[in-house]
Assembly symmetry: D3
Homo-oligomer: 341 residues x 6
């Protein structure tokens, strides 16, 4: 199996520990972005994974590519063009204080490329799965166009397409509303992933569920999965993650999946002392792709995905650096966290 | 509204993370002290806030003033005199292990100034609120005298005066007992703030409540507020914070306020994974001052104060670097800690 | 009272915070190892404690000795010989992710010494207690032989001997099974310490209890203590620690002790936000030795030991840097973690 | 004396020590920019100094303002507007390897403001000196227009104007050549500061001197100062700094000044082990402004300026954190670097 | 051009800055080793470079491979086998104090592999250059045998072979003397690289030159190059690096090359403030390989190599992270170290 | 040989790298003080060395003792009494900027002890050498009295006494001038050590030499040694260190010794890139004591001392962590700083 993901990767500038921005004159500097996180996660799970984006041809852009290579992602299709790598500032929340994300990603290399700059034929050679997210179409008209060109091309090659809806309220500033663009993208998608807010804001699906209100009541999400599936007849499956945010540190975590035949509920995990929840949705997406491929059954895939993403909460940084052994260990033992020695 | 606070600010030398003192040859070096924390907190909330103290005229003293300026506090009334900035060593507790504070503040600049060195007329120009604490009278006879001179002067100018009782058992070494001095200070005070131990040890009010015994039973504190109010007829309001310390990391947090008309109880917060509780009482005091000013109603002020100080528990260092938007967000949403992006 | 411990101390190379190995190009570098941890813990409790091992005569070996001296352990009997100090890599777990230990201790100095290299007469001069663990016999045939020589010598001098069973599945690679060697060692032992897995794997005692299954049901361990005592008639006491691992961060912690007369259960502690659990078993062992000596009664010793080891969970590094005052404070106050100021 | 400076301040993201970009996942994060550095330097010298710029109204922009306040700069005229704070990446050179600067400052707040957004009347109230640089006109047409509006306004108020030519080859991308814009700016300038390359590239003055070729031959620069003065009849003085770059670490440092009456040469300093040379030109400019004001004579001012900027080479970061006492000490003692104790 | 290198890569554990070992409980943890450094250096110069070694199949081994991938080295031929990754401890010298290296590399994975474990056919597919060093044959009899098998195989495929003699006095402990083994290896070598000590100790060539005695007298080395060439008739070229060590920080650096036709001398560089000299010999070797390939002429290659390795002295860590642009810039400009902005 | 030293040890709080105080909110926290440095240096050289002082009985005091123990110093005679450990703030100079020391040592434990608190009989048991400095008599009248009591007691026991004059202009605030007290102390001293300023200011010896003026002209110091010897007839030897401070980073270093028979000059070292010069005088003193003991001849001792103290300049922190092997290596090889591997 070979998977391609396409999107934007940014330099992530995080204040140390739980400090507010620039309490200390230092920022942790790593890289991340939804689709890149999926590519790295898949590579860590042992999948042949390739990431497509555009970065500037300068030391920052090259360091970014190097970091992806370090975890085994194929970066040979990355364009080196444009002026800047997008950045985002992250201040990690704690207790009742939320994490804060400040985007500084306008005019990034990937936001200014056009579909013609990419060699889609080569990008999709021998590829069986293509993953995108709702973030890329949100960053610029250009990026939305490239996204649609990519899914259209992939569809023609009969590649399976997954899309993490990932609604970002701080983006979508270039003149179009999310549902307007995403409904076009969704026509090509086989598997949609999101949370309740994504379904509402990204797809314009109306629902009575608000973030946190349904809590761990997985049944409450059945209706929304049905609405999504009925709106997009091409969709084969829709998966929804449920985060019960008690505080920045204490989260409940589970998911549901509707494959038009069954409405499946995952195991649930109580995650206390969250280390870093950024990228956990991406760990879920990659876990799902991996699970479909490796285990066949949707139930097994769903549980694998929720366990993989549960473990991501323990890893600092965007990247879900989790192995298959670790995921299976959690599914089997229940995560007692005993020292392995 | 312009607020002045007066007291001692120290260099805070903290071992990194949860390390015991000098496990590593490094100390985090920031600044803090009850009344300075209140001044910074008010400045972060947008209030015109001025801090009065004395620091030595050396690079450490100047760095201290710089740090206050950085957050917008007016430091133009700070005296540059004396020999040393007081310091305190902090080892952060975890699990069942308490935080340890070692004071090294004797002979500090502010502990050796006299009332005549301060230009009270200029200090209180256009000021409507003056905040002090029970720490300053505890450090030296001089500091106690300056405190009384200051509240007396402020009272004459019809400035509202708040006092955080803040009993410190490791101080009060210069020959007087806390109640002896504090009862003199309290004659000028309009709003008293404290916890149950402060009322007992700082004011000498007898009560059957011991730290942690009443836990979250806010009703148990009604009697003590009444005793305080009846002892000091000039007092308009007394507020008491209730900390349910389950461990160094897990605290319950609420407060009550008696304004002679009503006995009000705040919302309660369960704080897990405390990042830094030092300064949370100061965040409460500043939240109360801000709330009285901005919202009028004591109920709103009390809830604002408890929410502001709840958030302080998530910020490393003494300083309550919290904005009004964040406090209102917590009061509205309940602190789910979701990433803002 | 003078206590000697013998075993292997390693350089502990830990990734910072909760990072996976080498996410950052830095490793925290401290020293630790079961019996050394016990020696340091006893020294911190005020006991005259001496540690015997072998380290290479190079800057790393000398730094290791220096670290032990820093906490007051007598290192005058340490051999300077051999080629390398064993190391172990530690990746700290969080949430549902377990800590990972990678041993790189083969061919270490202590694993290659023979009994003749040690001056047992001098080592045991004026000594009343000797502590070993099941780790040393697991590292090499040589180390097993030295262990047996040491306990045999100590027994002849009527020194009390404690053994922490400490089964390590990643060791025992030199051709013998644990029970084969440990049953020989146990003939000399007065007090055995372990958890349920140690009893099974180290001693070959059959039991129906699996890690975590009995949870906090202290009664379930009575049978296993009786089996151990009946297998080794020389044994005076056996103590078993019970860890309820809910996750890497949240543990329950208690212990039981059978002295052939009584089956004693300790107080229980709920430990949230574990800082570092490595070395907590060693804190228990040292607490027990200290408690027997200082308090006489087994019940007091058991509670002292469980409280000391509870506090160890809050200290980064292998070494249980806990004082008697702190342990007694916890036993008295229940560990509310209030700031001491 | 009150001085205003106007320009762009950026977040400076520097790899630690001498590391290449992102060898470690960390960046030192401070703030700097030519005119802000001058404002901070003047404040450290005790001058009433105000800095005008535009920063986004977000935590990064506010932290930037806070940092300036920390050193006593008046930031009350800073606009809070626009989308982003410009950033620059810095990799510090060593030995024969040059420092690398990567600008990421396009679309910054200040680059997109217009002259009408600034309240010049208030900005220049009671001001006697205005300092700008050739960097601001290089970043955008808007910024060039604001610069010209500012100097024109200041000229009308008979404020003395200094301009550090500061040619930056990586800027000037908006369609105009440097000399085209700078010759307009220069009409309002009283004191010009630069190096030989600035005179050539920023002003279009032809000269035979190339960077480093004249080395420490201060006489070689007489002709170029005369050419600048004859081109701009309004100019009263021109000062040129001479850097003899033997390597990234070892520099010679001196300056010359032509005031139409005399051609003055400064003392020279050999600077080995340069800690951070960024901002040393700004330290020179502020030293000159300070020297003209405090000492009157151009010779004293020139020496003060070169000594202040010599000392800047020892301070990490952009900001010239140097006091008058230190500068005078160097001028008097010759910089033996003995410990002061 | 495709280059393969074979050898041992280690975890490099360095005390921070100029600290003695374990003054602080922290070690910088990077990777390095002569032949790996050459592979990374070539990849940074744009060459298709592949590295062959053996590492344990654990997180440390995988992190090591990841680090090589990060810089673009092909690691697909690395064996995952054996028990441990060799480590070395490094304490950086300063002033008159030498750097100290402590090897802990016995029993490493690569030291225990045999020639049969490697798929030489695949390793050398399409390869035109093979690089080894005198370190690998020094670590174990096995490693010496694999080295000879590799050069023999490569020779048969008419691949050019370079060998950096790299005599290491702390190795060669397995029973053979260096000249005994190296004279066998040298039969296959086309280009030998070393310093004067390497020629003497590794090859057993007698010479009157001692380290540092000839200093920068490049002529003194002619005789030794001729002796080496006459001893090994297959050798086409021999290059010798000349380090004039005035102190740990101040080195002179040049090289000579004898290609049997000419005796060439490189440019010389004075390197003050050495940041990290480890790996500079490897930068020289890779620069030479690159130069032969890119520029043809030996003179150009020699100067390219000495310039590349001069720049390595400014980069922390073993890896010569230097680009062709930087090398050519130094050769052209002379290394003034001016800031590039 | 057993050596005792007596004096004050402080917590040393240093800003990181070359940062000005509190540019970053962090301070390196180590321990040091003249006589403690001598004790540690002797221990590192293999001498049985004991340090006498007084520290508070709190975690900071205990950590201080632990640090001395770590390097093998006998701390069993240290008093645990008083209120605080003195501290000093250090900002490291660079280039032409001097290091700054801010003392905060008033009211320290040792400054308030009296001679009666020390058990001199036990302290001097089996001791053959006692070392003090001119710092202790400068801190308080009490400390001066204890010093005189100590040297008087030692003299009676016919212990050799060395005194490092160490004039500190920021001390001597308790009402007496240095020469008044030091002339009393000197009556008991056998070996005096100092620089030219110490002789003038500490002893009141008039001389025409000013710091740095004589530079490396060792002959110029003959007269001053003769004056010192003639003033104190009991003195056997006087040694003077000569520091040629070209800048904070570049120093020349040599010494002279007059033993009434010969006027000896040491080898000279040029020290570039000074890492930390604090404690180098103490390394000289300990080197002299060691050299007299080990080598007998004053010439050998003088050269050993100057080489040991030369090497101290390369070690961060106060403590001269240098071994005999390293000193002899430097004396033999001349300090080329080659990597030892």
């Amino acid at each position: 199996m070979k998977v391609v993901t396409f999107g934007e990767i940014m330099l992530r500038l995080k204040s140390p520990g739980f400090e507010r921005f620039l309490q200390s004159p230092m920022l942790e500097a790593t890289f991340g972005g939804g689709e890149a996180n999926v590519a790295v996660s898949l590579a860590c799970l042992g999948i042949n994974s390739s990431y497509v984006t555009a970065v500037p041809d300068n030391p920052i852009g090259r360091a970014c590519i190097g970091e992806l290579s370090r975890y085994g992602v194929d970066t040979s299709k990355v364009l080196k063009t444009g002026k800047r790598l997008g950045t985002y500032y992250l201040e990690q929340g704690a207790c009742q204080r939320s994490s804060v994300v400040i985007y500084d990603r306008e005019h990034s290399s990937v936001s200014e490329t056009t579909a013609e700059q990419y060699d889609w034929e080569k990008i999709f050679e021998d590829v069986s799965w293509f993953h995108i997210s709702g973030i890329t179409p949100a960053i610029s008209a250009n990026a939305a166009n490239v996204t649609i060109a990519a899914v259209s091309f992939a569809k023609n090659k009969e590649i399976q397409i997954s899309c993490d809806l990932n609604y970002r309220s701080k983006l979508w500033k270039y003149g179009k509303k999310a549902p307007e663009v995403m409904s076009e993208v969704m026509k090509y998608v086989d598997v949609a992933i999101g949370n309740e807010e994504d379904c509402q804001k990204s797809l314009g699906i109306e629902t009575k569920i608000l973030p946190n209100t349904a809590g761990f009541n997985e049944d409450a999400y059945k209706e929304i999965t049905e609405k999504v599936l009925s709106t997009y007849p091409n969709l084969k499956k829709v998966a929804i993650t449920l985060r019960q945010s008690n505080s920045a540190d204490i989260n409940g975590w589970s998911a549901v999946l509707n494959n038009r035949k069954e409405y499946l509920k995952s195991v649930r995990y109580d995650i206390n002392d969250v280390v870093d929840r950024v990228g956990s949705g991406d760990a879920f997406a990659s876990g799902l792709i991996y699970g479909f491929h490796k285990y066949g059954g949707d139930k097994e895939a769903l549980n694998f995905a929720i366990a993989a993403s549960c473990l991501k909460h323990s890893v600092p940084g965007d990247l879900p650096l989790i192995t298959e052994t670790e995921v299976l260990g959690l599914l089997k033992s229940g995560g007692s966290g005993r020292v392995q020695r």
